[in-house]
């Protein structure tokens, strides 16, 4: 009774488990949650009835083939989709129990609390110091000492301080790609968010740089809730505690990472993690 159109090569005919188990609900504190989330780019529906609960102080990975909607979903968590013309949301997205799409919600505040790191490092063409200080300055901090403290703290948190402490005034564009990405992470940390969204943060980096960022994520996990979109299944299995599998705009399965990779309930998840497609 499965949809064979999606996997004509399949040999086993495992039925999909009832939805209640396929989409797990993590125990403990839930920081962000989506319920029956639909998202449209104009007429095209990018997300269908997504239900997901993001646990606090953990790393949640979102995997799936290209174009399956995981980045669109990520962007709906900090309302970055609002900046694209023609997008529309139906359903509920909550941060600590409050609907972030409700009327009167301050998007600026939201984006302070839910920060984002992008696929390609995008430091501003200014000094390293000014990059980190950009966020705090936006929100009104002008005191020199406070800014210095914040810059140092954020760079230490991003494991970049020792490498750049002597060249804070140099342009941020001059450092290596891996360092730039850690800079972007530090930049986000400087506004003291609660949730960190990372959209394929390592996809343009070499293996060493990738490894350092993965280490960084595990360190940051204690203080922040992290959601990471990744193409790299090994990365997902290395760093995350919970993993969600997206396909064609639907969240097909969501549960503890070990289950997703070792014995997933949905056959399509199984096909993907075994590399049969994607």
């Amino acid at each position: 009774m499965s949809e064979d159109a999606t996997r004509p090569w399949a040999q086993d005919e495992r039925d999909e488990a009832p939805k209640g188990e396929v989409i797990a609900r993590p125990p403990g504190e839930i920081r962000m949650e989506a319920r029956e989330l639909d998202m449209y780019y104009g007429d095209f529906q990018a997300l269908q009835k997504v239900d997901i609960a993001i646990p606090g102080q953990q790393i949640t990975a979102l995997i799936g083939p290209s174009g399956c909607g995981k980045s669109s979903f990520l962007r709906s968590l900090n309302r970055m989709n609002d900046t694209i013309e023609g997008t529309r949301i139906e359903g509920l997205v909550q941060l600590d129990g409050e609907d972030i799409y409700a009327k009167g919600v301050d998007v600026v505040e939201l984006r302070k609390r839910v920060g984002m790191v992008f696929q390609t490092p995008n430091p501003f063409p200014m000094s390293i110091y000014d990059n980190i200080a950009y966020g705090p300055r936006l929100h009104g901090v002008t005191d020199r000492e406070r800014l210095d403290e914040t810059v140092e703290r954020s760079l230490r948190q991003a494991a970049l301080w020792d490498e750049v402490k002597d060249k804070l005034r140099q342009s941020a564009v001059g450092i290596s790609g891996g360092q730039q990405q850690r800079l972007c992470i530090a930049r986000v940390l400087a506004v003291e968010p609660e949730v960190l969204l990372m959209d394929e943060p390592c996809s343009s980096l070499d293996p060493t740089a990738t490894f350092r960022i993965e280490e960084l994520m595990l360190e940051l996990m204690d203080e922040y809730t992290i959601v990471i979109v990744t193409h790299n299944m090994y990365q997902a299995s290395r760093v995350s505690q919970y993993t969600g599998f997206f396909m064609l705009g639907e969240l097909l399965e969501y549960g503890p990472t070990t289950r997703i990779f070792e014995n997933p309930l949905d056959s399509r998840t199984d096909d993907y993690v075994r590399g049969r497609f994607g």
């Binding site: 600026v108 984006r111 920060g115 984002m116 995008n122 966020g135």
Partner: protein, 282 residues
């Protein structure tokens, strides 16, 4: 295949391409030739006493032209840049945007003498400025507005979108992002466009014929924006067509200064643009 009365395509091509080279030559030779002749003749005609302070002649015209184009730039820049910011950073594709773009295209196509008529009717007569620096600058500002808007738009679009996204994701508002990230990075390109615009304004005569230009003044330099001015293009025009007691040398000298000013501004803009492309920081 029998050889019919037909020119081989290869021969035709050679002839045609030869014709294209000739066309290119027809353009290049007169342009560079005449410009070179003019620069040599004009430079040779320059004498120091032409730059004396007086109520007629070269120096007040240079001062007047400079004042005119600077004021034009001061008026056109905020308007044009703001309009460009609106079109690139705020506007959604819709009826208003299309109307604005249509208006800009039409403004660009209005003949310069019609701008002169409009300036006469609005600034000189209706608003009562009279024929003065301000009326001329307002008229010219309108003339160069399409150029300022299009060059500013291009400069704004050159700023990579991912920088805006990074800024928004940190909680910046649209205006904060424009003010802190987009404008500073588009600034050099915008300035280049402004230099091109005032270069254009420096050479225009028809718009200021009825709104600003005089041939001789009551005092050497304008003391306020409502004062009369001399400008180089009008000087040249009167010298060439009417004034009997002007020597040929004075005419060439004036032409030289005008061309040097306009071409100088254009070259400055081009050099600035090339330097910027190299110094691109992203």
């Amino acid at each position: 295949m029998g050889m019919r009365h037909r020119i081989s395509p290869r021969v035709l091509e050679k002839v045609a391409f030869g014709g294209l080279w000739v066309a290119a030559g027809v353009v290049v030779v007169p342009v560079f030739g005449v410009i070179a002749y003019m620069l040599v003749k004009g430079f040779g005609a320059l004498r120091l006493d032409m730059f004396a302070v007086s109520t007629e002649g070269l120096l007040p015209a240079i001062v007047g032209s400079s004042a005119l184009v600077l004021l034009t730039g001061l008026i056109a820049a905020p308007l044009g840049v703001a309009a460009a910011v609106y079109l690139t950073e705020y506007a959604h594709e819709g009826r208003l945007v299309r109307l604005i773009r249509l208006a800009i295209v039409n403004l660009a196509g209005v003949p310069s003498v019609v701008y002169g008529l409009f300036g006469l009717a609005l600034f000189v007569m209706l608003l009562g400025f009279g024929r003065c620096l301000l009326a001329g600058a307002c008229t010219l500002a309108l003339l160069v507005l399409p150029l300022v808007i299009s060059t500013s738009e291009e400069a704004l679009r050159q700023v990579p979108h991912h920088l805006r996204q990074a800024s928004w994701a940190l909680g910046a508002t649209r205006w904060q992002t424009i003010r802190r990230i987009v404008l500073p990075n588009a600034f050099p390109g915008i300035i280049t466009g402004l230099i091109l615009s005032i270069g254009r304004a420096a050479g225009e005569t028809a718009p200021i014929l009825f709104t600003a230009a005089f041939y001789s003044l009551t005092h050497p330099f304008p003391r306020s924006v409502f004062d009369e001015i001399l400008v180089l293009p009008y000087q040249l025009f009167v010298m060439a067509t009417e004034a009997p007691d002007v020597t040929l040398e004075e005419k060439w000298a004036t032409a030289f200064v005008l061309v040097a000013l306009v071409v100088g501004l254009n070259i400055a803009a081009i050099v600035l643009r090339a330097r910027l492309r190299k110094a691109r920081r992203w």
